[in-house]
């Protein structure tokens, strides 16, 4: 049987395109600037690493930033928009518009391996390359044990589930693959 752990992670097409948009952008300085804007709930990963930041364009005098929401009801989205506007305005870009794009629907599979490691260091078990149907291996971010149990489908936010490590007893959040 093929398990999630046996799969070779393949970059989804939409994520490949997102990275192409950045590498081919004529506004590299703005992308670098927005690398400083972090997830308000997980201040170790940027909106770029999270997969929320989709595109940056210049339309006349206006900088248009396109983002995609994580979960439908994620209350952090408004804060993310405000943080983007504040970061660009602090750098002298007075006219900023943040547009929301629903499609392609956000997926944790867009997160880089480096971003996943940052999550683990922060105390959150990363989503890995699993899916809602097939969970990847979940290990305790504190001691690394895979002997863990689920306490609740939902943790402190919609994107996370609550787990506990059976080896070291530490409760921890697991970023759910979606």
């Amino acid at each position: 049987m093929v398990t999630a752990a046996d799969r070779i992670p393949v970059l989804p097409a939409e994520e490949h395109e997102r990275r192409q948009r950045r590498s081919r952008s004529t506004l590299p300085a703005l992308w670098d600037l927005l690398d400083e804007v972090k997830d308000p709930e997980i201040p170790v990963i940027s909106l770029w690493e999270l997969g929320v930041l989709q595109d940056i364009e210049q339309r006349g005098e206006t900088v248009v930033v396109t983002i995609t929401p994580t979960y439908s009801g994620c209350p952090a989205m408004t804060v993310m928009e405000e943080d983007i506007v504040a970061a660009l305005q602090a750098a002298g870009h007075d006219q900023v518009v943040v547009e929301t794009r629903l499609s392609p629907a956000w997926s944790t599979s867009w997160m880089t391996a480096a971003a996943q490691e940052k999550l683990r260091d922060w105390g959150i078990a990363p989503p890995g390359c699993g899916s809602a149907e097939v969970a990847g291996s979940i290990s305790c971010p504190r001691c690394g044990s895979e002997d863990v149990r689920k306490l609740s489908e939902f943790g402190s936010t919609a994107c996370k589930a609550l787990y506990q490590c059976n080896s070291c007893a530490e409760p921890f959040d697991y970023f759910k693959p979606i």
Binding site: P69, Y71, S72, G73, C74, P75, L102, S103, P104, A105, W106, S107, A132, E133, L151, S152, E153, F154, G155, S156, T157, A158, L162, K176, I178
Partner: protein, 255 residues
Amino acid sequence: MTAANTQDAVLQYAVRLGDDALVLGHRLSEWCSNAPFLEEDLALTNVALDYIGRARMFYSYAAELSGDGRSEDSFAYLRDCREFTNLLLHELPRGDFAFTMARQYLVDEYALAFMQALLESADQQLADIAAKAVKECKYHLRRSRDWMLRLGDGTEESQRRLQTAVDDLWGYTDELFELDALETSLVAAGIAVDSPALRPAWDAAVRDTLAEASIDLPAGDWSVRGGRQGIHTESLGHLLSELQFMQRAYPGLEW
């Protein structure tokens, strides 16, 4: 249908789906700080947020189609009972925890199949909203189905409460699988979900779950409908009076 007729029909359809999501999201939010334990409090409110977020997407699309200056808030806060077109199942009072989870399970089993079908909609924006919702539905269903089994196979008390809840909810489920003229025309245009076609799979899945949870299948000897036509139970008005209070008392309030 002419293009203008189609656009108006899609607007009404988006409002229906928005009403379903808002009303159920509000019911779930009522558990905030009232759930049986902390993890459940977090879970119920997180699911509520998913639903309210879904309502915002549908209402925003309806507002865009209207082109008359209405916003998502106009739909949520400035319409009265008879203008709400949610399915009745979504508006019933939250009841006890068994009732909330049984309703959620029946809705989740439907919503996942519904959103999967809406992915194929000829209307791109509806399909895009469905693509977001379908991922969340999978987690919702896994959790609510798990609670059906835990309550059904739990104590005598939890089993009794769950059976009562399923019996009380059953007559509201027929409405999920009915089409009126508006939706029939949208199904023909490839835009709306052909909900009667979802029934066999829903029936089979629900029967399996009820059997596994040792819950008797209700007799199905009564059923009520009317939500899509704005004919509601007495509960919706009370819900709206709380949900809409701020905008009614302080019109145009922002924060």
